[in-house]
């Protein structure tokens, strides 16, 4: 195991005999403590003032999220119920995914805002991408002003090692497992103190729904804006994020859907080209293989969008809903398209696996009706285009993480 924060050192025997017991025994901060806000705001400023960091859209988004001005909005959520005191849980172990590079930070920062001490395990595979962020964080944590955060932060990296995860878990009051179903199953099998909580994020699937008449009626600039927002939702993490849409549903008459698709996909292609989002050549092969594997299972499906230059999007239009359309494919710019008469027709097709719906062109009442018709546990969020990847700790996968990561002590 290597320690990456607060300083870069190998975890030797002295770490386990001295630093680790001290870390595990340290009292948590108060929820929404000024020390945490100061640290996060300072981090945001460093990133946004660093030209090398702020050009990375995912880093810039994280920095904006970490600003005091943004986090202040969460203050009311930390209020305890009358007759109770809100406190941090203690030590939280975060098992971050390798994929969505900045998620380790959102998970840690959320728990830090709650007052917890945090052990964050990041995958070695994500290190090349996040190394610049870690450098900034390391420099900040070395400053005397942030000693309270430094003493409550351990960012580590190790290859999968059940014994090590078990050892770290033994000191924790909570464990956050980000990852696919396999990871969740594997980690759940490892013991946790009986009083500790565990939150696991499984494989999820996401859709976009576009009202065909709305898309057909957009002026050129509005259409371009929709395509840009959608591009952010889909491609910020190469369409690998759970919240990135994989199935795009057009709703309306057949004719309107055809017109809408005929405008939308070329607009998306333009954005992809303008931004130079070509992906690797291997991604192009994986994209095609994903599409053909789905085509093999869905009668009547057609590849309707396949740019000659090999750039995304690649679109497979299905005549009717088939469960195979929900296959967890490689992403990289492959979309299944389904046309439905109305948004309401989508509701019965959804399952607990489905997390995010990016919706464009619907009135508030229509979305409300739709949300009330949803099958149990399906869809945790309906968002406007451009917001699929917003990290919202107060409602993530249907849970308020601020509540989950704190506790209340009832007063007489």
């Amino acid at each position: 195991m290597n320690l990456l924060l607060p300083a870069e050192t190998p975890a030797d025997e002295r770490f386990w005999t001295e630093a680790w017991p001290a870390f595990a025994a340290r009292a948590p901060l108060a929820p929404f403590a000024e020390e945490a806000l100061l640290f996060l705001d300072a981090f945001a400023k460093r990133v946004l003032l660093d030209p090398a960091l702020r050009v990375q859209p995912t880093f810039a988004t994280l920095a904006h999220w970490s600003r005091r001005g943004h986090l202040q909005g969460y203050a009311p959520l930390f209020a305890a119920r009358p007759g109770a005191v809100r406190a941090a849980r203690g030590v939280i172990l975060h098992l971050a995914p390798a994929n969505v590079d900045t998620l380790f930070a959102y998970s840690w920062f959320t728990a830090l805002l709650c007052g917890n001490a945090n052990v964050v395990r990041v995958s070695a595979r994500s290190l090349p991408v996040i190394a610049p962020l870690l450098g900034t964080l390391r420099a900040l944590l070395a400053e005397p002003a942030f000693a309270a955060v430094r003493e409550r932060t351990l960012l580590v990296s190790y290859e999968h090692d059940d014994a090590l995860t078990t050892r770290l878990s033994a000191a924790c009051q909570g464990r956050l497992v980000w990852g696919g179903d396999e990871t969740v199953r594997a980690i759940r099998a490892l013991p946790l103190p009986a009083t500790a909580i565990e939150v696991a994020f499984a494989d999820r699937f996401s859709f976009a729904a576009l009202a065909a008449d709305h898309v057909a009626g957009l002026a050129g600039a509005e259409l371009a804006r929709l395509a840009e927002d959608f591009c952010n939702d889909a491609f910020q993490f190469g369409q690998k994020a759970c919240a990135s849409p994989r199935v795009v549903v057009f709703t309306g008459t057949c004719q309107a859907c055809a017109v809408a698709a005929g405008r939308f996909w070329p607009a998306l292609s333009t954005v992809v080209r303008d931004r130079g989002l070509l992906f690797a050549e291997a991604d192009g092969i994986a994209r095609l293989a994903s599409a053909l594997a789905m085509a093999a299972a869905v009668p009547g499906a057609r590849l309707t969008v396949r740019p000659a230059d090999g750039a995304p999007p690649l679109v497979l239009a299905a005549p009717t809903w088939q469960p195979e359309l929900r296959a967890l494919h490689d992403g990289a710019g492959f979309f299944a398209q389904l046309d439905l008469p109305a948004l309401a027709s989508l509701a019965p097709l959804l399952t607990p696996r489905d997390q995010t719906l990016v919706a464009a062109g619907y009135a508030a009442e229509e979305l409300g009706d739709f949300a009330r018709r949803l099958p149990a546990r399906s869809l945790d969020r309906i968002v406007a285009p451009g917001h699929a990847l917003d990290f919202e700790p107060a409602a993530w996968d249907g849970r308020n993480l601020f509540e989950v990561l704190t506790r209340e002590t009832a007063l007489p």
């Binding site: 990871t183 085509a295 499906a301 057609r302 590849l303």
Partner: protein, 353 residues
């Protein structure tokens, strides 16, 4: 399909005209028998009727066989299933063989290697353990051994259960077969590890007569150890393996192998072919340009594997220009397409097996 004059007897222009007809028949054959393949052709908007040139024959990405089982025979007709070893974290390819396809593969392999071995079956050393059929069918390595073993006789399997080389056994066997040229066969990495750079070489064993070494499979492990083909050949000569031939083949097209010509390039056999495509646009590229290799084989009847886009990079270097007078397309393989950098929620932190 098997010209009497050999697998390298027909000039490429004539061979490709024949190949196109065979491939068109196979496209129609599989479209009729494999509903999943038919849906794929429809989804791709493949024009009905025969393709008018090789570049228009529809192709499937090799990794599609890792994602979906494509079979053109009823389950009762399946003789065995082959599985690729699969790179880490990926599902293996699954290929179903019926009796007819397995027979064609065996005949094709014999036909190709006849050009190098003649009709006399030599005593044969297999640098592996005897293949076992696992629960899920044969691995690519096992399938290769099954295919090549009939080309020799009096087989000696160099590896013991557990993977150690049986050096004493080989010494005895070599002594018993000292009167004639031998055939050695194995996966390139295993041959290097156990034979050429391993205990056999260290024990100073040699073939009494100049002999032939056939080897296939990736060079990745050797390249990682800085072993060049010239080093490999030099090490082989030390064992009196004076002729070494690499071959390029894959579990998706067993039997249709491309064997190393006398001066290095690989050579397409009569029943196969190769085309190079742009790695991004997938447009066909002219000879001499580097791109993704698409391979053709006339053999598969039980699964639609007659036209496959690999993830190997390569280049066509000539046609009908073998120094040994062999006819065929000559090409070189230049390694794998670099892996994707994308990572995802769902597969990111899967535990190590």
């Amino acid at each position: 399909m098997f010209p009497a004059a050999g697998a390298y007897s027909v000039p490429v222009a004539d061979q490709q005209a024949w190949l196109l007809g065979e491939l068109n028949r196979l496209t129609a054959w599989h479209a009729e028998r494999c509903p999943a393949y038919r849906r794929i052709l429809e989804a791709m908007g493949t024009a009905p009727g025969p393709a008018s040139r090789l570049a228009d024959v529809p192709f499937l990405p090799a990794q599609l066989f890792k994602r979906t089982l494509l079979s053109s025979v009823p389950e009762t007709e399946v003789l065995r299933q082959l599985r690729s070893s699969g790179t880490t974290g990926q599902a293996p390819s699954r290929i179903v063989l019926d009796r007819a396809t397995a027979d064609r593969q065996a005949r094709a392999l014999g036909h190709i290697l006849h050009g190098y071995l003649g009709s006399h079956r030599r005593p044969m050393v297999i640098v592996d353990e005897p293949v076992r059929s696992g629960a899920g069918g044969f691995t690519a390595r096992g399938a290769a051994q099954l295919g090549f073993a009939p080309l020799g006789r009096d087989h000696f399997y160099l590896l013991q259960p557990g993977g150690a080389a049986d050096v004493d056994g080989l010494r005895t066997w070599l002594a018993a077969h000292a009167g004639e040229p031998l055939l050695f066969f194995g996966m390139t990495a295993l041959v290097w590890e156990h034979l050429l750079d391993g205990p056999v070489a260290r024990a100073g064993l040699r073939c009494a007569h100049p002999s032939l070494l056939l080897h296939g499979g990736g060079w990745k492990r050797l390249a990682a150890r800085q072993v060049a083909p010239a080093d490999f050949k030099a090490a082989a000569r030390a064992l009196n393996l004076t002729e070494t031939r690499d071959y390029y083949g894959m579990v998706e097209q067993t039997g249709s192998i491309h064997v190393e010509d006398d001066d290095g390039p690989l050579l397409t056999p009569h029943g196969g072919g190769v085309l190079v495509r742009h790695p991004r646009t997938l447009a066909p590229l002219p000879p001499g340009e580097t791109g993704l290799l698409q391979v053709f084989s006339v053999l598969p009847l039980s699964y639609p594997g007659h036209s496959i886009l690999t993830e190997d990079l390569g280049r066509v270097v000539g046609t009908d220009d073998s120094p040994a007078g062999r006819r065929g397309t000559r090409f070189v393989v230049l390694g794998r397409l670099p892996a994707s950098e994308l990572r995802g929620c769902s597969d990111a932190t899967a535990p190590a097996p």
